[in-house]
Amino acid sequence: MNTLLETLRIGGLRSRIELKQFMRQRESVVFTLFFPVILLFIFGTVFKDTIAPGVTFSQYFVAGMIASGLVNTGFQQLAITIPMERDDGTLKRLRGTPMSVSSYFIGKALLVTFLMIIQTALLLFFGAIVFDLNLPSDPLLWWNFTWLVLLGSACSTVLGIAFSVVPKSGRGASAVVSPIVIILQFFSGVFFVFTSLPSFMQQLAAIFPLKWLTQGMRSVFLPDDFATQEVAGTWELGKTALVLLIWLVLGLIFAIKKFKWSRE
């Protein structure tokens, strides 16, 4: 029990120092936190159409952007920064201290959660004032929103840690990771209405968590009767939770077993 508390305490301290470092890197702040907001402005301004009665494209887009924000702050950010930490000696130094591995992971998870809160708040704020985004009033929708964000963050975090073994170097990490995220965003109905995509893209996207997250977020931000326009004709929240849980468990097992502390 004592060691568990200690692990959590050190994890908390790590998240503080990680956040400090994150905020001091201007490019990471802009790229990770503000990029989705910038995209919202571009897409919201260009596509002014209404895609269903009372549903503007920007509303559809905000739901997708919040979901892909989970992928940006978790998966993308970690899969790029962890290889950099492997290169600059951070991981090796930490490995040589009594800090437990769990504390390192906890620090990352807390960092992602915190960044996600900031990013979502920014998107909702700008969405509401610039594009008249309707925020849900039903508490049930906010409850769905909360578990989607928490489960999505957790999933995105462990997959980011797991995927950090792929890039050979910190310098090349962005080139490996970013295209995957962008393609996933296209396939998962972030930039386009999902049902207008070719069916092979839809089927491919259904394997990955992002499609389910975007759909879940639409259930929160779009009118309930829009569900009939989804592929299955319903929001499929139960299936969404299941898919995310499966990825979470697979990611966790892989991250724990395969995490690389050094390049060799």
Binding site: I10, G89, G96, T97, P98
Partner: protein, 285 residues
């Protein structure tokens, strides 16, 4: 093996595929000793040290560091790290954190950390306490590495090429820091390319080449240095003369008699550690 030894290694072997990096090393470092490991690049120094630090696992052989097998996984291995300090080869991590932020954060990891302010004074970074790591010079950055190595008040400190890239003044003050740590009773395992550094700091040196220890001795006796012929030089009739002799005292006395007192520009020197070392490595090539 003595029971007070900080490091005990027997028959250590490390292979990568068919390549043998470490080929049967025996080594004992006593508690409170400064031991320098010397050897050319690729000789197996870093592999050996990283096995002792717990970063790599041995292919064969016995390794005990502070009575513990460094390859032990899990929380026992993490606990053991409370007693060791590691100064890695050049790093560039935590570039956006200040000296104080980094050192005080790392202090949290240890059961028994040293006082953060005291450590900052010891490594001479008081004036740079709020500077970001990226703003430090190479030597200052290395001092930060040392600070992070000693913040947990380790019994055993590993220093991997600690003064590479230092100017002579920075190196001198670094040596003073190491001497202070020795006076506190720390055991230090040092790898270095600088023979004068080994000579100034080490109680014993071990020369490693092709994965094998060639010799372990004090810096004064390595390679038979204490018995090697000394070189006596002096100025006579405007010409520098020199002789090699096993008995320089007698030669100097003779010269003194011949000159009827002081001998112009008299110099007596034994081969320095670097010459001995290069000869040892050269003979094996």
């Amino acid at each position: 093996m003595s029971s007070t030894a900080a490091i005990q290694v027997q028959g250590l072997v490390k292979r990568y595929g068919t390549k043998t990096a470490v080929d049967g090393i025996d080594l004992t470092v006593e508690s409170g000793e400064i031991f320098a490991l010397l050897g050319p690049n690729g000789a197996g120094k870093t592999t050996t040290v990283e096995i002792l630090e717990g970063y790599r696992t041995a292919t064969a052989g016995q390794v005990k560091v502070l009575g513990f097998n460094p390859a032990t996984k899990g929380s026992a291995g993490q606990k053991w790290r409370n007693q060791i300090g590691i100064v890695l080869q050049s790093t560039s991590d935590a570039a956006d954190l200040s000296v104080f932020e980094t050192i005080s954060h790392y202090a949290n990891y240890y059961d028994n950390p040293r006082n953060v302010d005291q450590v900052i004074d010891e490594v001479g970074l008081r004036e740079k306490i709020d500077a970001k790591a990226r703003e430090l010079s190479g030597g200052q950055r290395r001092r930060l590495d040392v600070a992070l190595g000693i913040i947990g008040s380790p019994q055993l400190l590993f220093l991997d090429e600690p003064t590479t890239g230092f100017d002579p003044e920075a190196r001198r003050s670094f040596w003073e820091l190491i001497t202070t740590l020795k006076a506190e009773g720390k055991t230090i395992l040092l790898t270095t390319h600088y023979l004068d550094e080994a000579q100034a700091l080490a109680d014993r040196v071990g020369v490693i080449n092709n994965g094998k220890i060639i010799e372990i001795a004090t810096p004064q006796t390595l390679g038979g240095r204490n018995n090697a012929p000394a070189k006596v030089t002096w100025l006579e009739n405007g010409v520098t003369n020199q002789i090699l002799t096993k008995d320089p005292t007698t030669e100097v006395l003779k010269l003194s008699q011949r000159f009827g007192g002081s001998v112009p520009e008299l110099e007596v020197s034994r081969p320095n550690l670097e010459e001995i070392y290069l000869k040892m490595i050269g003979e094996l090539r």
